[in-house]
Symmetry: C2
Subunit: 441 residues, 2 copies
């Protein structure tokens, strides 16, 4: 079969950019065999044209002039790997206006300005492909948009940030403090020097915004997502939860109820130790999706890194070049905000079980105290455990597991508990997420 040359312009020659250049060069023949396409880098644009990189480009390909990409009509596809939101958005808009299809891994940009970019693409009769933006090596965007297209998706539960999962895995298995685990993650290259976006849950929220919008077919903004990070997690709570059968993960959760109301949140979550997601360790990502026809499916793989992300970018390049992305992109029909806004469930109205840890002073009446506060707020207790071993000021940890209750009841109870003299400090509260494992047997 005759091969067709597809010329690509790459903007951003960092880690993932180098991976893309490497794959395009090393897998060229195999990609021709599988797809009939010969991928070629027309130019690679980066402000830094001097630093040594782990991949060698043909002479003259690397440039700091984006106009070379924009004005080269033989370049069909522009790949934006700059990251960030301001410059990257301008670059994508310029590429679309210059008639290029766009491939990107930029989750922050899509989560914040996706709709504007999608509209610009449609106006220019171009498409934007963004598989690499979510969960790197896992082809999750295409799974939702094509493989599960016949399904009404009811829920997704994802471990979509490898940095947080690496930190929590180490806190769990090595009994490390948060700060120790973070330092180790930074040493291993799993966390940035400034880890804020990851550990705050912000990065997971970006991915949830993208995945939930395509899974539920509505425009999701970051404001719709409740976000809590892992910065305040203590290894003691991981241990106490572990004793009660739970494993702590930072989950990105999207749920749609029978009335089509959507609940979106990112927060530390205790999940049953025998659930599939509990076994996802270290820098790996995994996403469980529940479809009305297919039941539970789970996808597992590396969520980041040079080559896994490059694999997703090149898969998108191929999909765009074959014309498949254009047809799916055309139908990226997201119901507009004004229709969807009332359908977002507020965090106070979500229902969950809770793990609470109080530091009780060694005096009578502790149980009666928390029992009354929880009872007054319509919260019933399913288990409690007073741990031996003392905290600061001779306090002892009291761990309580509640039955299901609304978040707003819990927030009210926590505020009251904090005021009580019999407890020291702020109560710790972690949501318990019951993933409805699809099991039979």
């Amino acid at each position: 079969m005759a091969e067709r040359i597809v010329k690509i312009g790459l903007v951003g020659f960092g880690t993932v950019g180098c991976g893309v250049a490497k794959l395009i060069s090393e897998e060229a023949d195999s990609i021709v065999a599988k797809t009939g396409l010969r991928l070629e880098l027309g130019c690679v644009v980066d402000t830094d044209t001097e630093s040594a990189r782990p991949v060698k480009l043909p002479d003259g390909v690397l440039t700091d002039d984006i106009d070379r990409l924009l004005n080269d009509d033989t370049i069909q596809i522009g790949v934006e790997l700059v990251g960030g939101t301001d410059a990257a958005k301008e670059i994508q808009l310029k590429m679309l206006r210059a008639g290029k299809d766009v491939v990107t891994a930029n989750k922050a940009l899509l989560a914040e300005h996706g709709n504007e970019l999608y509209k610009a693409a449609q106006q220019n009769d171009r498409c934007i492909a963004f598989e690499a933006s979510c969960a790197g090596g896992i082809p999750i965007v295409s799974a939702i948009r094509t493989g599960l297209a016949a399904n009404n998706i009811n829920a997704m539960y994802g471990i979509v940030n490898g940095t947080c999962n690496y930190i929590l895995s180490n806190m769990t298995s090595q009994d490390q403090d948060f700060s120790q685990a973070l330092t180790k993650a930074q040493q291993k290259g799993y966390a940035e020097a400034d880890p804020t976006l990851d550990i705050s849950g912000g990065d997971s929220a970006h991915k949830l915004a993208i995945l939930a919008s395509i899974a539920f077919g509505c425009e999701i903004t970051l404001d719709d997502i409740f976000v809590e990070g892992i910065e305040a997690i203590s290894k003691n709570d991981i241990r106490y939860g572990g004793e009660m059968g739970y494993c702590l993960k930072l989950l990105a959760i999207g749920q749609k109820d029978a009335q089509d109301k959507v609940s979106l949140r990112v927060h530390p979550s205790f999940i049953a130790k025998d659930s599939a997601l509990a076994r996802v360790d270290g820098p790996f990502n995994a996403i469980s999706i529940f479809g009305n026809a297919v039941g539970q499916v789970m996808y597992y793989g590396r969520g980041a890194g040079m080559m896994p992300s490059a694999s997703a970018v090149v898969a998108d390049i191929i999909d765009v070049a074959l014309g498949n992305s254009a047809t799916t992109f055309q139908h990226l029909h997201l119901r507009p905000r004004n229709e969807v806004e009332p359908l977002i469930v507020k965090i106070g109205d979500t229902v969950s079980r809770f793990y609470i840890r109080l530091m009780a002073k060694d005096q009578p009446g502790v149980v009666a105290c928390y029992g009354k506060v929880l009872g007054d707020n319509q919260i019933s207790i399913s288990g409690a455990l007073q741990h031996e071993g003392s905290g600061p000021d001779n306090t002892v940890p009291v761990v309580i597991i509640t039955h299901q209750t609304q978040q707003k009841n819990m927030s009210a109870a926590l505020a009251e508990l904090e005021k009580l003299d019999v407890f020291s400090g702020k109560p710790v509260c972690i949501r318990i997420v019951d993933i409805p494992e699809d099991k039979e047997g």
Copy 2:
């Protein structure tokens, strides 16, 4: 956006056929929103037009006359869900010649006559989509062909037969005999009245032939695949292996070495209890794939059943109607037999660790006996355990774990061991598969 009507002809109105009809009717509006396509059943062909089914068709749609489908030019896509190989092949060929694209879940047919059908499709400028043929609800065919297209796939390890996995899971967790577990599987609807194709490993081999041919880009026939079923597995070996840290699964394995030599086999496999596939229980399927760029990815979900399979069929219908299947199908470039045949690794040349169980008579010299036979065949022992508790004729089970060795050495050793007086009966030999888990941390 304007909607486009896509008319479908369905042949075979059994379980999956009913699921497809149900999805097409119940998800019609949601599919329009996601894809712009309004799927409609032009006709449903089945020799049985009388029996009650769990789904209601519009009047006049059900017929026993396939010519109605073939002669209806408004029908674009023919879905073959008849099963079996003879009649089904004729039906697919007729549909292709009549200008219909084909969607099928028929793994046996594709594994045996795929190449002939693919050629017929290409001659008629049509495509065949077959996501539902492998691992039902898991979009694994599209994952390999699109999501992982930039990867050189080195290996795949799959639990692709839910019947066998259900039986082995029950033998493991409930300490059931094979026959008890099979009966339970039949009662639960997870095994057919005649379970031969499943328990013999034949069905897994069909799926491996399809998946390996697209993953490795070469024509695979069933003769290339070594197949051993689970009929002879004893619950004692599952228990003994469990004591040594292994879990028994029927795996479909495809590996490609650095010289592009391909090894294909389906057999009971002891895998490490903490490996991801060890945790796949009951009727579920899972496939781990190793790509050179992406590392390890794993897909998990229901491998069969009315709605999971229907979900895959309808996803294929959508993909065909959008034209995406045509472009990927065009590049289903499988290197022909004459080039590939010498590249298949013969089973005797494959290397593995082994679990051996011998029933030793209670007399001196047992260890020296097996030690000599294994040593003479260049097999070294990594662990051995003589179990208490007696078998028939006052024998005791001796379990041996070997280091890596070639299958032909092991076969020679087993033949010698069988002849020795000191052991009773045939030695049990189960391969230990070391899945190279991609772990870091």
